[in-house]
């Protein structure tokens, strides 16, 4: 499917999703409550078959915290970007997609480690690179007077 068809296809799943045709990929904004069901449908649908999650990145958008999923179909070669965000900075939580794509296991642990985003139903959500005495360094409000020199 090309970008226009892909946009129409995703609209046919759910009318309320925000769809933006980006320069490179189709971008879909989804509320956290619908994330898991949409992800499952995108993988299982015969027309879509997004079976390869090739990038999962946590992003601090200033006010909100979010996660960006890059999905590709190894059969049809089309790509879609799924974005979700929450304004709860104290306890940000999304549904884990590690039961759909196993690669999400490590990616989600990384997002938890560096941004403090929790993933519900993750099999083994522990810190990955840093120990528990650290904060969440990729957040924009992270302060480290000793190790980060600001001009």
């Amino acid at each position: 499917m090309d970008k226009i068809q892909l946009g129409e296809y995703i609209k046919s799943i759910d009318q309320d999703l925000g769809i933006k045709e980006g320069k490179q990929y189709v971008e879909v904004t989804v509320p956290p409550s619908k994330l898991h069901s949409l992800a499952k449908q995108l993988r299982d649908d015969k027309e879509a078959q997004f079976d390869f999650l090739f990038c999962l990145s946590g992003v601090d958008w200033g006010q909100d915290l979010g996660v960006v999923y890059h999905l590709r179909s190894t059969i049809y070669e089309h790509v879609v970007v799924i974005k979700t965000r929450t304004s709860d900075r104290e306890h940000p939580q999304f549904d884990s997609v590690s039961d759909i794509w196993k690669t999400a296991d490590f990616h989600e642990r990384e997002a938890f480690d560096l941004l403090g985003i929790r993933f519900a139903n993750h099999p083994d959500l522990r810190r990955l690179f840093l120990d528990s005495s650290w904060g969440f360094p990729l957040r924009k409000d992270y302060v480290d007077d000793i190790n980060i020199v600001t001009k």
Partner: protein
């Protein structure tokens, strides 16, 4: 009487846990594996990483785009040139700059030389992991010849930092074409020796065939790319599927094997060295004339938006995801590093094999630890 039987039966033994690494020759860097064993059988592996986490993604948020390139060298230090290229291609795509053919061809030749030298070092250390010490001398001897070519043109041997946004840092050295052709001629003669030494060795076959099987379905689900994925039959070569630089103008085939065991991953890399030499031979005599770099603004600012660029490093698919807010430094950079993803399958494919096989499987995944930790 009953107690005696209990002691003899090895199935009744308790599981015990040993610690492998972070300083262990077969983990190829500071990777720590906590291995649960029952007798000699591996039950579970838990990788502990982060010993050389430098926070490269965080550092990128406070520096400019040309500076980021030098940090990417330090991720996968064996694919340094390809990592650089990923960032440069992404910046050029965002600024919509047309790159002259000369630059594209030079970058492609350098990328393929990088791939060969990376596979040579992998072959050297993989052979040594399995007890063939001679491999290490053979591999490093031949790799040195490529590093000399790099040194002459780029100034650096391993961390070349040869790319810059809009082109390459310097023009190629006058000797470059001759030396590369000499190397190809030499290496075409030498590579069959690699096969004689290891690929056809009966002991090696016993150690690698049927060990660490990875099915195609799991490969895609775990997102395994590069020679490791292609050894399981997953067609994931970015050079074919989304050609960048000069890969769209040359003919080469994507190496695919279907067995998915340690031997297939091994033979995929050997075949890739042959294929890389084919690519270089097609380009080395036809480097177009022209400038080696496009003139860029002194301060590079990307337009607001999100940019994603994939390239094929020696170990798999590297993704560079840049979110820009229009400033001279990026808002967020994410590196989708191939080794980080490939590590996640380690536990899955090692279960049920012996601890000596763990070393073989780990070697066949070809992990580079700085790329995992970033």
């Amino acid at each position: 009487m009953e107690e005696k039987e209990k002691n003899i039966n090895p199935d009744e033994q308790q599981e015990y846990v040993i610690n492998m690494g972070p300083q262990h020759p077969s983990t190829h860097g500071v990777l720590r594996l906590v291995v649960s064993l029952k007798g000699e059988i591996v039950k579970n592996i838990e990788p502990h990483i982060g010993y050389i986490h430098r926070g490269i993604e965080k550092m990128c948020e406070s520096i400019t785009y040309p500076q980021i390139i030098h940090l990417t060298d330090r991720m996968d230090y064996l694919s340094a040139h390809i990592n650089n290229e990923a960032v440069c291609l992404n910046v050029e795509k965002a600024l919509e700059i047309d790159i002259p053919d000369r630059i594209k061809v030079i970058r492609t030749i350098m990328s393929e030389l990088t791939r060969i030298q990376s596979h040579q070092l992998w072959w050297a250390s993989f052979g040594m992991d399995l007890g063939g010490l001679t491999c290490f001398f053979y591999g490093l001897r031949d790799r040195e010849k490529i590093l000399d070519v790099f040194e002459e043109t780029c100034g650096g041997r391993m961390l070349v930092s040869y790319n810059c946004p809009g082109g390459v840092m310097y023009d190629i050295h006058p000797n470059f074409q001759k030396r590369v052709k000499d190397f190809i001629k030499y290496f075409r003669k030498i590579l069959p020796e690699y096969d004689q030494l290891l690929s056809g060795n009966v002991i090696f076959h016993e150690r690698s065939k049927g060990i660490g099987k990875l099915s195609l379905e799991d490969t895609i689900s775990y997102g395994i790319t590069g020679p490791t994925g292609r050894g399981s039959g997953f067609s994931c070569d970015v050079r074919k599927h989304e050609p960048y630089s000069a890969y769209d103008r040359i003919t080469f085939k994507e190496i695919l094997h279907t067995e998915g065991d340690t031997y297939c991953r091994y033979i995929t890399r050997i075949d890739e060295m042959w294929e890389s030499m084919n690519i270089i031979e097609q380009l080395i005599d036809n480097i177009p004339e022209g400038p080696f770099a496009v003139k860029m603004k002194p301060i590079i600012k990307l337009p607001e938006g999100e940019y994603y660029q994939r390239v094929e490093t020696a170990r798999g698919e590297l993704g560079v995801y840049i979110i820009s807010d229009g400033n001279k430094n990026p808002y967020r950079v994410k590196f989708r590093s191939p080794n980080f993803v490939n590590l996640s399958v380690f536990n899955h494919i090692t279960k049920g094999f012996k601890i000596a096989d763990l070393v073989a499987i780990g070697g066949s995944l070809d992990l580079v630890i700085p790329d995992i930790d970033r």
